[in-house]
């Protein structure tokens, strides 16, 4: 077991890669009541075109299957795993993102039992035709719920504008039609391809005894046998640089309009420290341009174009990335024009000073300290970083090293008219 210390943060992290390939991390947190554990596979909504374990040909699976599998893994022959967790005083949950599926629990007692339950339920799949059919009704309602949610529709519309082929444009839950095609055999096929321990990471954070927990996990894994894992072969169609659609307007049953400007990122093949630097620098750039202390924010807010729902965000994973800027507005066209103008202005005549950069870096460092109060943040983000060969605890030193030239470079690469699109939600007339 390897021990990694972060002196400034006063944290210690323990790591071991088990024989079957499973990566295990433990971060003891004194003074906290709860222990939080996540068991995550590097498998999300974008992994829909791959060579199944033990086969040679590529297959394409229905939209929404990773999320469907996440739901179904909780159900076993003898009932529902939620029940077992709550009998042990824990609350359990799971989520599916573009690139990951995570199963988790948090509890303030019986941590060993709950950990055993977590690892075992994820590693013993049980799917039947009957329960698969029943789940279609439940997920159908989840899909309807999101369909009525204007912020979700706006966000996904903004992504769909950017990508022509990349599966990130597919809604994570799929559609009622696509999930209708899902069968128990397809679930097993996806499961056996992506839930091998060598494609997974277990993270435990809380007031735990490190050696005992590690021993427990090793014993649990030693009892199980897994086939020898071969490299998973995923297929992604090539994606052009330009956006797929410049503009999408969604009339909905709402009173306020909404507008997002999205930008398709370049250089998204990077991993490791290079990726971390690009991601953090882009975040700092957006904060400088549109943060609440920026001139742009003040201008947009004072002119009544935005309210406090205005926000911005940058997402980057291997193979795709995008920035989003916008929020509620009474004039979606004018807001789009203004945001684009502000972006272009940054590129042609940057107003960013060393002073404002230093201030923004301080803000980001403070935000990181705040975030590491949260066991959820640490476990989820650490896992995401690790899947991209980055280290969460490098955030502060990498932020500190950002120079004004780095900001200019990122702005030069990111801001380009052919990679920008607009998505709006407007009241149905």
């Amino acid at each position: 077991m390897e021990k990694i210390s972060f002196d400034q943060l006063q944290e210690e992290l323990y790591h071991e890669k088990l024989e079957n390939g499973l990566e295990v991390y433990i971060l003891p947190k004194k003074g906290f009541n709860k222990t939080y554990a996540t068991f995550t596979t590097k498998y999300g909504s974008i992994d829909n075109h791959f060579v199944p374990a033990g086969k040679k040909e590529l297959v394409k699976v229905p939209d929404g299957i990773a999320h469907f599998l996440e739901h179904k893994l909780f159900e076993k022959e003898d009932g529902d795993v939620f029940q077992q967790f709550s009998r042990q005083g824990a609350s359990a949950n799971a989520f599916t993102s573009f690139t990951r599926t995570a199963y988790l629990f948090s509890s303030t007692s019986d941590v060993e039992k709950n950990l055993e339950t977590l690892i075992d339920f994820v590693q013993y799949p049980y799917f039947s035709e009957k329960t698969v059919e029943k789940e279609k009704g439940i997920i159908g309602q989840e899909i309807d719920m999101y369909d009525d949610n204007p912020d979700w529709r706006l966000y996904f519309g903004a992504i769909q504008n950017l990508f022509e082929n990349h599966p990130v444009k597919i809604d994570i839950a799929g559609t009622k039609e696509s999930i209708a095609e899902i069968t128990k055999d397809m679930l097993y096929e996806c499961y056996h391809t992506f839930y091998h321990p060598s494609n997974m990471l277990l993270f435990i954070v809380g007031p735990v005894q490190v050696e005992e927990i590690m021993k427990q996990i090793k014993e649990n894994q030693a009892k199980k046998t897994f086939p020898t894992q071969v490299e998973i072969e995923r297929k992604f169609e090539s994606e052009k640089e330009d956006v797929s659609e410049k503009k999408l307007v969604l009339p909905m049953n709402v009173h306020s309009s909404k507008c997002l400007v999205s930008i398709k990122a370049t250089d998204t093949e990077k991993q490791g420290e290079e990726m971390l630097k690009q991601e953090l620098t882009t975040n700092v750039l957006l904060e400088l341009l549109f943060g609440r202390s920026s001139e742009n924010y003040d201008k947009l807010y004072s002119s009544g174009l935005i309210d406090e729902s205005f926000s911005f965000d940058y997402t980057q994973e291997k193979g795709f990335g995008f920035a989003m800027i916008g929020g509620d507005t009474n004039n979606p066209d004018q807001l789009a024009t203004e945001i684009k103008r502000m972006l272009e202005e940054e590129k042609s005549s940057s107003k960013i000073t060393v002073e404002s950069l230093e201030r923004t870096k301080k803000k980001k460092i403070g935000a990181f300290l705040r975030a590491v109060n949260s066991p959820e943040y640490i476990a989820n983000q650490f896992t995401r970083y690790a899947f991209n060969d980055m280290n969460l605890f490098d955030v502060v030193p990498v932020l500190e090293a950002i120079k004004i030239e780095d900001i200019h470079n990122v702005a030069d690469n990111l801001i380009s008219e052919n990679r920008m699109a607009i998505c709006q939600v407007v009241p149905k007339s």
Binding site: S86, N149, S256, K362, K363, K364, G366
Partner: protein, 425 residues
């Protein structure tokens, strides 16, 4: 050892609550103002904190104010409005890094307290009026916020239920006030209300983190000077006769939203309160509860089906998103499950399981500074002094008979259904 050790100091016009803990890398400061919910001033109360947080005499623009916070290692500063029983609450919250974890040793807690005092007591006012441009900006933003509630159908239908159910009670007022009243508030009106609120509201200041209590007490004593005030207790209002009402509203939505309101006739501080918490856990609070199992897992009608308790008003709210055609089916399952609770149709295991989950949930909440304040503030609202250890203890000793007894106090009041177009038959 106590799960949370809270030190309370009575000062002039304000109570200081300190929780010393070394588990966080930040310090949290939350200032709360509480007053009875009243039609005449609820919109002003919604506007006031928005105007105060946007600038001050020392920081005359939002850019300057926010820039200063960025300098303090991105101190967060935000406001929040709440409704606790028949009270309206305004919170100003700050979170600031503990300098122990930074290479720069500037004392951030003291600076943050100074900042909060500046914003609260030195507003951008001239000639007895708030700065007009700021006021207009925040009025626009408030109207937008009120309007956008319509767009979030989950929130909207919950609000509509409360509006219908508590029609004759102050509780029906919305925390953000009324859109139609925003325009008529002048800078003068708002300044007069600001003076009144600071003089009359019940004020509480929470400071959570790795702090030196004596030092903090001294700091607060020096900086926060308010006049003393009388307490403002409100009478609990509730209709004498409760009759079941069904309200259906049609909109262009894919998913119907079903919200059901019950009167619990039990409030925080009542002897039955802990039994009510256990009741809610067995009935609908968790993913092992009757509603989740029967509406979602067995009948496959919904993605979410849950209940929650409003502790001070004495309400139990059930919510579920269903296909519009399944209204009757869902309502009948929810009612059947309520009847099962009243009949004592649940096992000792259900009880044990629920208590373990409630205990876990409470302890988890105490792992965040905001959660600590949220829980401790119940005592302020209800004028009680229940320690958290007592809370945990009393949950543990709740019996099946007590849960059945509390179940039989619960009365169905209003069923609200937001339904898709053409679905009502």
């Amino acid at each position: 050892m106590a799960v949370v050790s809270e030190t309370i100091k009575e000062m002039s016009g304000i109570k200081l609550h300190m929780v010393k803990t070394d588990k966080f890398k930040t310090n949290t400061i939350i200032f709360k103002m509480k007053a009875p919910l009243q039609k005449e001033n609820v919109t002003k109360r919604a506007l006031l904190p928005n105007v105060l947080q946007s600038n001050s005499k020392k920081f005359p623009t939002t850019g300057q104010l926010r820039g200063y916070l960025d300098e303090l290692y991105g101190a967060t500063f935000y406001i929040d409005l709440g409704k606790k029983g028949e009270y309206h609450t305004i919170s100003f919250a700050m979170e600031v890094a503990n300098e122990r974890f930074l290479s720069d040793p500037t004392p951030l807690l003291k600076t943050a307290i100074d900042f909060l005092v500046e914003v609260l007591t030195n507003p951008n006012v001239a000639d007895g009026e708030f700065h007009n441009e700021t006021l207009e900006k925040e009025k626009r933003s408030l109207k937008q916020r009120i309007q956008s509630i319509y767009d979030d159908k989950m929130k909207y239908s919950n609000n509509r239920l409360i509006e219908e159910m508590c029609k004759e009670e102050p509780y029906s007022l919305h925390v953000h006030g009324k859109e139609s009243e925003v325009d008529s508030i002048s800078g003068k009106d708002l300044y007069a209300y600001y003076k009144k609120a600071l003089a009359e509201d019940e004020l509480s200041l929470y400071i959570i983190g790795d702090i030196e209590e004596q030092e903090v007490e001294q700091m607060v004593n020096d900086k926060f000077t308010f006049s003393s005030r009388a307490s403002q207790a409100v009478e609990k209002k509730q209709p004498v006769q409760i009759e079941e009402k069904v309200i259906k509203e049609e909109q262009d939505v894919k998913q119907g939203k079903l919200n059901i309101g019950y009167r619990t006739n039990v409030a925080y501080g009542d002897p039955d309160y802990f039994a009510l918490q256990v009741f809610n856990g067995v009935y609908g609070g968790f993913s092992h509860s009757k509603l989740f199992i029967n509406v979602r897992e067995k009948a496959s009608l919904a993605y979410y089906a849950a209940s929650r308790v409003e502790s001070h008003k004495g309400l139990l709210m059930v919510m579920s998103g269903i296909d519009s055609s399944n209204f009757e089916k869902a309502v009948s399952i929810i009612k059947e499950q309520m009847q099962a609770m009243k009949n004592g149709d649940f096992s000792d295991d259900d009880l044990i399981q629920t208590k373990a989950v409630i205990r876990n949930q409470l302890l988890e909440t105490l792992d965040t500074a905001r959660g600590i304040v949220e829980i401790l503030y119940h005592n302020v609202v209800a004028g009680q002094q229940i320690q958290l250890d007592e809370w945990l203890q009393r949950i543990e000793t709740v019996t099946k008979e007590e849960v059945v007894k509390v179940a039989n106090k619960i009365q169905l009041d209003t069923i609200y259904f937001l339904t898709g177009k053409g679905a009502t038959k």
